[in-house]
């Protein structure tokens, strides 16, 4: 459903992505792991044109995009079929939780207000926040804000959701509620591409894991094989490191 070929991106002289290929099938939940600076967030941002890749072909939903040469119109259309959940939630601070969800429907997709309201309320209900619909982001906890952001993402009925370290800005006691919502989405068959440091999530929820280091994919495979018998030495070193820090 989504496929990228040979994606490259540099910031100045720093090569962040050095020829990454990736294939996502419908219903896949793919966890992208890797140390800081490995390029995983940049990869995700390039897929949604938040960063302009220097090179690379994206095939998504039957359309082909030459990443550095895609028109504004094509980008806008592509974005309307996808959703993005940010590390820092990025809710619209001047809008209530409900308005955050309806904005993309009413303004972005010209849906009528009543219909958008119903869809948004259902989305908020799904993330367990229908009682917070009229709260502003500043009145919500970090976990609640991220759940509103997920509601905002699912309300537009996207074909895929990109998650960029969705729990990294949260206090440990708040990550659980966000991960639970993501687990529920995965169970319902949502296609998800998740950059994360949550090994537990990668192990139990994702069906595939991609391990990146130094701007390229070191190893990828189904999550069980990945965790039980990693092939590459760098993967083993990374998992040992993570294992140690989890044991502490």
């Amino acid at each position: 459903m989504l496929e990228i070929k040979n994606i490259k991106k540099s910031f100045g002289s720093l090569k962040v992505l050095d020829g990454v290929d990736l294939k996502v099938e419908k219903g896949d939940v793919i966890a992208i792991l890797g140390p800081s600076g490995s390029g995983k967030t940049t990869l995700l941002r390039c897929l949604n044109f938040l960063e302009k890749a220097d090179e690379g072909i994206l095939t998504f939903d039957g359309e082909e995009y030459d990443l550095p040469r895609t028109s504004k119109k094509a980008i806008a259309d592509m974005r309307k079929k996808t959703a993005f959940v940010f590390q820092n939630y990025n809710l619209f601070e001047n809008k209530t939780a409900l308005q955050n969800v309806t904005e993309g429907l009413v303004i972005g997709r010209k849906m009528n207000k009543n219909e958008a309201h119903d869809i948004a309320m259902k989305a908020l209900q799904k993330v367990g926040l229908s009682d917070r619909a009229s709260h502003y982001p500043q009145q919500l906890s970090g976990g609640q804000q991220q759940r509103v952001a997920i509601a905002r993402a699912i309300a537009t009925n996207p074909k895929i959701i990109f998650f960029d370290e969705p729990t990294s800005a949260l206090d440990p006691e708040l990550t659980g509620e966000v991960l639970a919502v993501m687990r529920q989405l995965a169970d319902e068959g949502m296609t998800m591409l998740v950059v994360t440091h949550e090994i537990g999530f990668a192990r139990t929820v994702s069906n595939r894991v991609v391990f990146m280091d130094g701007g390229s994919i070191v190893e990828s495979g189904d999550s069980r094989t990945f965790f039980e018998s990693p092939r590459e030495e760098r993967t083993r070193a990374f998992l040992r490191l993570i294992g140690d820090s989890m044991a502490e």
């Binding site: 949604n48 938040l50 806008a76 974005r79 309307k80 996808t82 959703a83 993005f84 940010f86 820092n88 990025n90 809710l91 619209f92 601070e93 001047n94 809008k95 904005e103 993309g104 303004i107 972005g108 997709r109 502003y136 982001p137 500043q138 009145q139 952001a149 905002r152 537009t156």
Partner: protein, 225 residues
């Protein structure tokens, strides 16, 4: 000290000063400031959006206007432009100069406020399917105006007092009327203090409006800590 005659003069001249305050000073300020806000918003947005050419033009405008005295600007427009055939009445000349002058200062205030809105909200806007302009208009600008609000009120209050300069280009506003009464009665100290008090009353009312406005605009909670 204050004798009865002076008291009578002060009481007698109070409405004479207040009237041009209400019919000239305030309209001049409110019209000019409204225009200034429009100029400022456009000037700030072309810089924020980084539109080539227009951005440089905006910087040039701000550089010139902030770098020259308001009084000189008034003189150029009212006494200077007639030499090239542009005769402008004193009141519209004042409106023109005040809106262009204050527009430059407010543009910087609004630009800073636009840049203070977290960039991630723009990205979130694109990702939910909003265009650049929709994101600016619905998400970024409303937040920026709240941030800019107290500083914009600074500019507004400054403008109320700066309108006294227009007496030099023959606008019959509060201060000119005061000067005329003083010239006739020789009570300079008392009368100029009196007009100062009226300016203070105007500023006080505006300060109250600012406090009220800030409360209204604070509907979505405190800024992130």
């Amino acid at each position: 000290m204050l004798d009865t005659k002076l008291w009578e003069l002060l009481i007698d001249s109070f409405p004479k000063m207040l009237m041009p305050g209400l019919t000239v000073t305030m309209p001049l300020t409110l019209i000019s400031f409204t225009l200034a806000l429009i100029i400022a918003t456009v000037t700030a947005l072309v810089q924020f959006a980084n539109i080539k050419g227009l951005k440089q033009l905006a910087r040039f405008y701000i550089w010139v206007v902030r770098g020259t005295p308001l009084l000189v600007q008034l003189f150029i427009v009212f006494y200077g432009l007639p030499h090239v055939g542009l005769l402008i009445d004193s009141f519209p000349a004042a409106v023109m100069v005040f809106s262009i002058n204050s527009g430059a200062y407010c543009a910087e205030t609004i630009r800073a406020a636009l840049e203070a809105v977290p960039h991630g909200q723009l990205e979130a806007g694109y990702c939910v399917g909003l265009s650049y302009l929709q994101t600016i208009r619905r998400i970024v600008l409303p937040q920026a105006l709240r941030t800019a609000f107290p500083s914009l009120f600074n500019s507004l209050i400054s403008m109320v007092k700066d309108t006294s300069l227009t007496t030099c280009i023959t606008v019959t506003e509060m201060f000119m009327v005061t000067q005329r009464i003083a010239a006739r009665t020789y009570e300079h100290l008392a009368l100029y203090i009196e007009v100062a008090v009226i300016y203070l009353i105007f500023s006080t009312v505006l300060t109250k409006v600012q406090t009220w406005g800030e409360k209204k605009l604070n509907y979505y909670g405190r800024k992130a800590d």
